[in-house]
């Protein structure tokens, strides 16, 4: 799972004046596709942007466990239950890798989690949509993980070493996520009429939110140029979105499902699909935390963290007592 960088708020950030010589050296290293490692010198804005982007990505993985978890206890076969549990578990693992990558930049996981729970940090808009039937689990794998893969593959070459290494591991593990989703839908479209109707309903609801996952259009994405230069981002939002549409439409055809976009058609001249306008008002509302189940998602995350406080404290207390006894 992935989130494109969402809360760009350069206004209000303190402007750090960087040493021009160090800055030039840094820019040259990044331009040469060299990796930046935790103890290397880096501009403050680079550090800040990375913490924001990596932690948003981590939050998305963790919050992303919830919509699928909603169907885990209702998975209709033991095989599907095991697959879904393994997939959700992978997402937790990916969140964990990413938090650890961000921690190397000097921000603790606790601070990042606090930022999420206080509403300061963002996560992918997609997880603020509800999962209403079992086919949604297929649609999430196929569309949401499909979109995520588009975003994540180029990030394996991102300039920050720990982030790039986390992405390599994540991409390798996620290769089954999209396939299991498509496999689930294949079974349903070849099943009973009710199953096929569920699959179409799921595509109808997830198509547009999936396209929104790539973030605002390039003309409204002011930091893209700098992020591309710093190799924090490797392709623009619109490029990736187009790639996703081109790859996904034939897959929908193969399922015998129709994409809910009357303007969708192949453009011979461009060699790409043309598609309709995304509802950007909805997108920005969801970014602001007004998605259909945003409140449910956040209250569930907060409850998990708060309910676990006594467990974390107890384990620390036991470790301290144990160490004291060993020392005595």
């Amino acid at each position: 799972m992935y989130t494109t960088e969402l809360d760009k708020s350069p206004a209000g950030q303190p402007v750090t004046i960087e040493d021009p010589e160090l800055l030039a050296k840094f820019e040259a290293r990044v331009a040469a596709d060299d990796f930046i490692e935790p103890k290397d010198w880096m501009p403050e804005a680079y550090r800040r942007t990375l913490v924001r982007q990596i932690s948003q990505h981590a939050h998305s993985e963790i919050v992303g466990m919830l919509p699928e978890g909603n169907w885990l206890t209702r998975a209709p076969s033991l095989k599907r239950k095991a697959i879904l549990l393994a997939k959700i578990q992978d997402e937790g693992g990916h969140g964990l890798y990413l938090y650890c990558a961000a921690e190397t930049l000097g921000t603790s996981r606790e601070e990042m989690i606090d930022a999420l729970h206080s509403g300061k940090a963002k996560y992918s808009t997609i997880f603020n949509y509800p999962t209403l039937n079992w086919a949604d689990i297929g649609a999430i794998g196929w569309l949401v993980d499909g979109a995520a893969i588009m975003n994540q593959v180029p990030l394996q070459r991102t300039s920050y070493g720990p982030y790039a290494r986390a992405m390599v591991r994540i991409c390798k593990e996620e290769s089954f996520h999209q396939r299991q989703g498509y496999d689930l839908l294949l079974e349903m479209v070849n099943g009973t009429p009710e199953q096929k109707a569920m699959a179409q309903d799921a595509l109808n609801r997830w198509w547009w939110p999936a396209l929104m996952m790539f973030g605002p259009p390039d003309e409204n994405s002011p930091n893209t140029a700098q992020s591309l230069r710093w190799r924090i981002k490797r392709e623009t939002n619109d490029e990736l979105r187009q790639k996703f549409v081109d790859a996904t439409v034939p897959q929908a055809d193969l399922l015998g499902l129709s994409v809910p976009d009357p303007d969708l058609k192949w453009n011979e001249e461009r060699g790409h699909y043309d598609f309709g306008e995304i509802d950007w008002a909805e997108f920005y509302a969801v970014v602001k935390g007004q998605g259909p189940v945003a409140q449910e998602r956040m209250s569930e995350r907060r409850a998990a963290w708060d309910d676990g406080a006594w467990v974390r404290d107890a384990a620390d207390a036991h470790a301290a007592k144990h160490a004291a006894r060993a020392a005595a």
Binding site: E37, A86, L96, E103, S108, A309, D313, A315, H318
Partner: protein, 93 residues
């Protein structure tokens, strides 16, 4: 509310190989760190052995001193076998 301390995880992927850094995890004690390392980094049979070490216990070289630390080795080319041109008959040595 507190989070547990950070540990670095090293995994031997199969017998005969070195342990390699895999990533990090949070845990309150060493036993828990091993369990978390196993559950986080060997879900796909990636390992046969795991080491964990408190991140705070790692001593790292300073990248600012990388020049002094590592560049002097560059000139010691006689440490490499290709430095020595031997007659064809014994060149596999």
């Amino acid at each position: 509310m507190s989070d547990w301390q950070l540990w670095e995880v090293f995994i031997r992927t199969k017998g005969g190989l070195d342990h390699r850094h895999a990533g990090s995890i949070h845990a309150a004690d060493a036993e828990m760190a091993l369990r978390h390392a196993r559950d986080t980094y060997t879900r796909r049979m990636e390992g046969v052995s795991v080491w964990v070490v408190r991140s705070a216990d790692i001593v790292a070289s300073d990248p600012g001193e990388a020049g002094e630390l590592f560049e002097p080795a560059e000139s010691k080319i006689y440490r490499h076998p290709t430095f020595y041109q031997l007659p064809e008959a014994v060149n596999h040595m």
